[in-house]
């Protein structure tokens, strides 16, 4: 499943790149793309584990760039 999320308070392109890499390393994530300028995060992962993986993504985000927030709808 591929889903796109809005990301708030992401002002540093470098941080966006670091975040993207960190998310890609999460087991179960097939692909991730961080569009820093449009403030959108795309995550592609297994359907069945998607919610659990998204929780992990938020955790990783807090670690790498505590200021930014991923809007999970």
């Amino acid at each position: 499943m591929k889903k796109t999320f809005k990301v708030n308070d992401l002002d540093c392109a470098h941080c966006a790149a670091k975040l993207e890499e960190a998310i890609k390393k999460i087991p179960g994530v097939n692909d991730a793309a961080m569009n820093f300028l449009a403030q959108k995060l795309m995550v592609e992962a297994e359907d069945s584990q998607f919610d659990a993986i998204m929780k992990e993504v938020v955790k990783v985000c807090k670690k790498v760039e505590p200021d930014c927030e991923i809007v999970l709808k």
Binding site: D9, D11, H14, N35, L37, A38, K63, P66, D67
Partner: protein, 621 residues
């Protein structure tokens, strides 16, 4: 500025004031540090906090940590002023970066302010304003003069002119009347229109375009990827170099550590390549936004980047270089026959057919056809039509048809379709039906060769050899391949791909509907978007909204400008950083220069990147 940014600005100003006071205030050595520490904490507490958090999470090479280390180090070595100044400048740089990104995002959003906010729909007899999302397919909406058309549809009532410039960059308004198509995002200018909605808001042209432009930055250009990888290695390298610089020279040269640690701290200040990492995507973002202002939709930063390297451009003929509409261009009656008569009989003969030839004949004739005059119609595919008109056997069609009934016809050299007419077995003349060239086709090719620096222009068409070659000659195209079936077009593109150099790019331009496989195979697929041609918007990498082939040269100009800005920034940033690193290592530069150069470079790079949005140099035709 956002609230958060305003708060930051306030902190910076206060901190600066405190710094000045701290410098001027004559305090004894014991008390001296305190005002400096105060100034430092006012502007830098969040950096220290962030640094602490990152260390806790084992993010070692984070810029906040390095900045904190550098400034704390400065304080430790007694350089209070320097410590505060560095933190201050760093925060200024960060603030500006944040502000510039916000500005850019809003700029693009403003450019793309084609999103309609409401639709007028009849509810129980009164015209009510609703959210465009709520309107369903088949509903009728009303758009008054001056309002934005909120949804795609067909005009059911009313005549007006429509401004399509927001989507196509075309400044000349388009006339619409009952039965005509309109798309969302255009502005209704003169009269009231009732429109039957054909697509829901989410599927409307305007929604698709906005989506496209927004997501285009996700497809990263090669230079973006390069910078990201570079940044990845840059920071650790500089930090390691700093460590080496701090400890090696003192050991080797037997000098005190202090001075060398100080120089190493300068390295830490320059260790963040943020200016680079942000200015490159920002430039492409601007370029894509600027292009969409001209009615050129670029679906990815990588396509914008690749466009400038186009070596070979292959173009479809019908619908791309020609208007795709067949019209009667010449009437050549035989002796004793009038033009009117020739046209009338031909039209009658073809009247039962739905072939484009028949349609163009009917259009040219203009008058009502009396079907009772025509009987025993026989349509022979690949040949033409036979019929009995007012009792006389008539045949209208190509050479093959004429030969089959034994009528001799003159050889016609033309770039159009020839329809011969034989009445009662006797040759009566021929009608020329041609597809018109687009008015800017010739200029498009010329500009591609000169401005576009394209090495080879190629035309691919399924049309007949004499037609294709004549058009190719008229437009100045280098190579023409005719009588191609769709699969033949793909094969030709494959062979052309082998001809280009490894760095060169092959672009294919088509009108989308049946060119999908070729558009995909080419390095860059460019489609004539037309007003509402969904298939084209789907299959291609770049869509030209107003169907003008000369726009391709415009797109290449934008591509070149954007790349130029990107390289300017990369070279500038790297050069300055290298310079300061070297000067810092030799003790000539201090932290002042370092952070000033770092922030200054960032500010300049970002300002330069925003130049990519400016497309005034492209005339709006």
């Amino acid at each position: 500025m956002t609230k958060k940014q305003k708060k930051m600005l306030l902190r910076i100003i206060i901190s600066a004031v405190v710094l000045v006071i701290a410098v001027l205030l004559p305090l004894n050595a014991y008390l001296k540090p305190f005002p400096f520490v105060a100034a430092y904490l006012i502007c830098g507490w969040d950096v220290l906090y962030g640094a602490a958090r990152k260390i806790w999470n084992r993010q070692w090479f984070d810029e906040e940590f390095l900045m904190a280390l550098a400034t704390v180090g400065a304080f430790a070595s007694g350089e209070y002023q320097e410590g505060v100044a560095v933190m201050l400048f760093y925060q200024v740089g960060e603030l500006f970066q944040s502000y510039a990104v916000g500005r850019s995002r809003r700029s693009i959003a403003g450019l793309m302010d084609i999103r309609p906010d409401y639709a007028n729909i009849m509810v129980d007899g009164t015209l009510t304003q609703v959210d465009p999302d709520e309107v369903k397919i088949g509903d009728t909406i009303v758009v008054r003069a001056g309002e934005k058309i909120p949804l795609d549809g067909v005009v059911t009532e009313g005549t007006s002119t429509v401004d399509t410039s927001a989507l196509t960059g075309e400044s000349v308004p388009r006339e619409v009347e009952s039965g005509g198509d309109v798309i969302s995002g255009c502005i209704n200018l003169t009269g009231v229109l009732s429109i039957r909605v054909s697509k829901e808001f989410g599927e409307s042209t305007v929604a698709k375009i906005l989506d496209l432009v927004e997501n285009a930055s996700s497809k990263k250009a090669k230079s973006e990827n390069f910078i990201t990888k570079f940044a990845h290695w840059y920071t650790p390298s500089v930090v390691i170099a700093a460590v080496l610089l701090a400890f090696l020279p003192p050991l080797i040269l037997r000098q005190p550590l202090g001075e060398w640690i100080h120089r190493a701290l300068i390295f830490l200040v320059i260790s963040c390549p943020c200016a680079l990492v942000i200015s490159v995507p920002l430039s492409f973002f601007g370029g894509i936004g600027g292009a969409s202002k001209c009615g050129i939709l670029v679906k990815g930063s990588n396509y914008l980047e690749a466009l400038a390297k186009t070596e070979i451009i292959a173009m479809d003929k019908t619908g791309t270089l020609t208007q795709g509409s067949f019209e009667v261009t010449e009437l050549h009656p035989a002796e004793g026959v009038s033009e009117q008569e020739l046209l009338r009989v031909c039209t009658l003969a073809e009247s039962y057919s739905n072939h484009p030839i028949s349609l163009s004949l009917k259009k040219a004739y203009g008058k009502e056809i009396d079907p009772k005059q025509v009987s025993q119609v026989e349509e022979i595919s690949g040949h033409g039509v036979k019929a009995v008109i007012n009792g006389v056997q008539v045949a209208a069609g190509n050479r093959r048809l004429m030969e089959s009934i034994g009528v001799k016809v003159p050889l016609v050299k033309s770039t159009g379709t020839v329809v011969y007419l034989a009445v009662g077995g006797k040759y009566s003349g021929y009608i020329l039906i041609s597809d018109q060239l687009k008015p800017d086709a010739r200029e498009a090719i010329r500009r591609l060769k000169t401005e576009g620096r394209v090495k080879k222009t190629v035309m691919l068409t399924g049309d007949l050899k004499p037609v294709g070659e004549a058009i190719g000659k008229e437009l100045g195209i280098d190579e023409v391949f005719t009588e191609l079936l769709p699969v033949g077009k793909v094969e030709k593109v494959e062979s052309l791909l082998k001809q280009k150099s490894s760095k060169g790019v092959l672009a294919f331009v088509g009108d989308g509907v049946n060119d999908a496989p070729v558009l995909t195979r080419a390095d860059i697929g460019i489609a004539m978007g037309g007003l509402g041609s969904d298939a084209a918007i789907e299959a291609a990498d770049i869509v030209i909204m107003d169907d003008k082939p000369s726009r391709i040269a415009d797109a290449m100009a934008i591509s070149r400008k954007t790349i130029r800005i990107v390289y300017q920034n990369i070279v500038f940033a790297l050069a300055v950083k290298a310079l300061v690193l070297i000067l810092g290592a030799f003790g000539i530069a201090t932290m002042w220069e370092a952070v000033f150069a770092d922030v200054g470079v960032a500010v300049i790079a970002i300002l330069n990147a925003m130049r990519a949005l400016n497309v005034k140099f492209i005339e709006k035709k």
